[in-house]
């Protein structure tokens, strides 16, 4: 297949190029850019010297519709609202990595994103691409809203409980930590080395736009669940997300062992979710460069509270990796196709 990528100059985009250049069903990657058209891609990213020396092409729908079989949109907010209908008209399936199409309720989107929502029609056509949970719908989809990085880690961590209505709504606390690549390649004070190195900060307390995305999925699984509390922290590292989640169960019938079993069984057929042995906790580096989501769960008998730890590589399972996993599912291939890279350690 011929694959188009809009936004290849961003980190999500270049990670798509890394994956797809070794994907057995990807014949060619055509890279589109509004800002960098005409530039040689390996001059933008010299690590690709000799590997991706093609020029960036302008986003011209007349050409695009004859060139590609599927489009990945890894572009800033607003772009997919505009391009998705045109691509649909041209019959080209789309996997959108932005947050534009993830929130079903426009008012909710606008409240958290402080932007105009995409047209309702587009939003409603989009299938939420949380691959392990929505596999069937994804297989039928022509338009995927690829999940956010934090929601991927959080939802995979909470799904086994929410699906069984086990989350106690008195508190679901998500304390999330991310590497800096999640903020993209644009230079700003928020990505400035000297401001972040040997430093640890919290941001968007109770205001992070990934909150409604998490709540939307949780409420689908466990209707009526109240709001969660979500905080994001910035770790002086490049890649990786850890979500540490705290809650209580709605039942007292489950032992710590039962809880661990519940998780292991829930994910027993999911190649990319590795529930760790009891007592072992994952580190972000242990999934570095891979599409794995590693999870630990524990019930503390002293406090009767549950702690869940979930780690991903934010550019892989949290973005490009899951996008390719969705690409595989949409095409009826094994979800692991082209995604079996071993984590790089150390």
């Amino acid at each position: 297949m011929k694959i188009g990528i809009v936004g290849a100059t961003g980190y999500g985009g270049t990670e798509l190029v890394r994956i797809l250049s070794h994907h057995p069903h990807a014949e060619e990657c055509i890279l589109y850019s509004s800002s960098g058209e005409g530039n040689v891609y390996s001059e933008v990213y010299p690590h690709l010297t000799g590997l991706a020396d093609q020029k960036l092409k302008p986003i011209d729908m007349n050409t695009i519709k004859h060139e590609i079989d599927i489009m990945f949109l890894a572009a800033p907010p607003g772009v997919s609202s505009e391009l998705t209908p045109q691509l649909a008209d041209a019959g080209i399936p789309v996997i959108d990595l932005s947050g534009d199409l993830r929130i079903q309720e426009p008012a909710e989107y606008e409240k958290w994103y402080k932007r105009t929502a995409a047209p309702k029609k587009v939003i409603h056509e989009a299938v939420y691409g949380l691959a392990e949970l929505n596999q069937k719908q994804i297989q039928q989809a022509k338009l995927i809203a690829n999940p956010g990085c934090f929601p991927t880690a959080v939802l995979l961590g909470l799904a086994p409980l929410a699906r069984k209505k086990l989350l106690n709504e008195s508190f679901v606390i998500v304390d999330a930590k991310t590497g800096v690549s999640g903020a993209g390649r644009k230079a700003s004070m928020g990505t400035h080395f000297s401001e972040l190195n040997d430093n640890f900060k919290i941001y968007k307390v109770n205001e992070h736009q990934h909150t409604p995305e998490i709540e939307q999925a949780l409420n689908e699984w466990q209707p009526g669940l109240g709001p969660i509390t979500f905080s994001a922290h910035l770790v002086p590292m490049t890649r990786g997300i850890m979500a540490t989640m705290y809650t209580q169960l709605t039942t007292s019938d489950l032992s710590a062992d039962d809880l661990h079993d519940l998780y292991s069984e829930f994910y027993q057929d999911s190649y990319f979710v590795r529930v760790r042995p009891k007592g072992q906790y994952p580190q972000t580096k242990e999934v570095y460069g891979s599409n794995f989501c590693d999870i630990a769960v524990t019930l503390d008998e002293r406090t009767n509270r549950v702690t869940i730890v979930s780690v991903i590589d934010n550019l892989m399972k949290g973005a490009a990796g899951q996008a390719v996993q969705n690409f595989n599912l949409m095409n009826g291939w094994n979800e692991e196709t082209g995604l079996t890279m071993t984590p790089i350690y150390p």
Copy 2:
């Protein structure tokens, strides 16, 4: 005054040397070591070349009792249980930076530390040196149990609520993050650069020995409060602790503004605690190398939950800095004496 330090080869010890070498009432620092006796201190720590070229002396109580006016113990577990009674006999006040004397209930100590507790007599003589909260007792004390690094950040963050019985015991969640220097100077897999760099890990989930220390103080302030949930995380940075704390209030009468006012007033006379303006959150680097504890507090009206963020430099306010603050209080000096260093930024 002549000052003795046991354990000067550790990070807490060398931070004491840094502070005390500029303290107006510290005439001389005499450094004792069981492992390194005879070594020139600036060969152990070459950054002190020309500044601290004295030799490390053996721990010999016969000599010690004639040499010093006060002793700081920055030694591994077990040492202070042994030395403290001897120093007391010699009439030498002690500030102990270990965890040995902090837990009043020996069984509790032994459960969490998995070690034999210190003699009851010694424990009961020790005053818990949380300087902002126990100022009066510290001024009278001859023996200080200097607080742990995590408890300092956490307790300063929760004290305004606990003192007013405002913590809702249904959940008090503490998600703590620390730089690696908290693990000391001993080489191990847990302090290995390649294992920690560009990585983020969680450790001692529900098992951290600082938990009972936090609960003990909270229960003194708000009797009957149930257990807290505490997790520690390791950040790829050298210094700094952030504790992110989540709870609910026992009342619905306080607005977000009221809550912020409560904190500001609580700490209005505390030079070292800086309650940040509403909406501003502290970063660990903003207290780097200083004795400040910076705090933010917020009440989210959507969820009705409270988030408190507290940051310190673990080697300063979390160890040596607070020890010197206690030294000042014990001697009737202004608590800021020798501790007004500006944070180093960036």
Copy 3:
């Protein structure tokens, strides 16, 4: 083929496992260990959970000789001196990643390594596995001395000049910088996070054991060349080596353009060496996780001096990657087989 690895618990060993687990001609990896026998490998390296759950086996030559078709030795100094003859007797080809077999002159080895040299017979059988330069001998070899990490970067950077006798012996200065993984997984003060983070240090000035390895190869290419000056520096990062090299040419007939052309032509058939366009300098991250060696060369007309910059991933092209490249050559396969991974960026 069935592949044996001794020393799989080290970083070089686990990188071999990462590569070989996707190598089309590697049927199975059998992992041997003297210290960790019986342990499950994915418990030593949890990033391999589900990917390499085999147990580590003892080093028992009676078993080994029936189990494997080739052996990679990624063990501490001394091990290969002992194992290599036994493996030769059993007819098993060996790729040795240690420094034991690289120095032809035992006295030279003993002077720099401060250890007894391997038996002469073994040393003389070993082919120096600098893949781009010694391709023919490698193809015939049964025993490979895989080059050191620094020598690989340095020799690929200097070979085009030395092969043409263009190095001016008045000075060849090599200022080398490495990430910390080069020091291995053993915990020590030299790999302690708090000692290295936000710090930069120089070590083994004029004493690094890779010096004679570099000089040996240079003198083979340009006989009579005098000693080089070599310094190693430790960078607070995990992976990557940059060698910055300074020299003068023996001729004044070459322009800056000529010099660049000389390099481009020298490596035109070498997939893994990427000579960068004139004026562009490689960064270590641009080869992260890959087997590339990226090189820049420049002649400064103001000073008439040449600067060469060469970067590799020390665990890949500097160790496991080049070892597999040699494995490919020994077996008559394309040298790129199983080694085409794209650098991970950012």
Copy 4:
């Protein structure tokens, strides 16, 4: 004295504030800014909350001339050319931290800086503030050109040789490494965390604007010395510079011990230069936050080449610290006044 600072929002500026807020002769710091006027300084730098809550003032010479006794200029290129003559007219001494006034030859400045040079009159009035070497002229000066960060490390490292005409001009190679704070606070791809973290890069090879500053001083000390070779590298750390320098001596009469003695004697009265014991090499962190320059020198008998290692904190001895040292000298105070802070380690 009342002290003015232009450019307080930059890193050099905030380091001046840190030092001067504890300087015994600094009564008040008045902060001027063209871009940030009206802003509260501690909102720009929250680590100064409660410590520097004054507002930034506009740069209005009519006011300035009545407000301050001395001006520190820590501003971008071009500003000092404009302000210095006006401050001179008002009789206000100036310490300029920019590169504008350091190069005596305008054509040389314009070639390397690619900007118009400052007026000749201003340049010629400026005394080059390399405090250890130019002490006498600094004591008489009204206008100081404070040295660049790299030149400070390099010149202190080479001065003992150059002053004795011992540098062999066949090669003086300077391989310099710096932390990222040297690039200032402006956000750019060159200071982007994800681009720099776990990465090591070289930049401005043979083109760095600090080259002529170094050559100018060396040629003053050892007239006729030819050009040096200078390369800058960026280390993933915030603060610190190491310059590794390679050369040969013009004599063969000096042994390694003689050479070390020469350095020790040369700096025996310089508080801020610490020549390390023979065989010990300084690390950048060992001067972190302090005004020290630590130096090692070695003569390798095998190669007959000399290696000199010099480290500083680029924001202290390489900028604000040396500026205050010059401030002390200009006013006849002890050069250490307000500058005796111990390096922060770890």
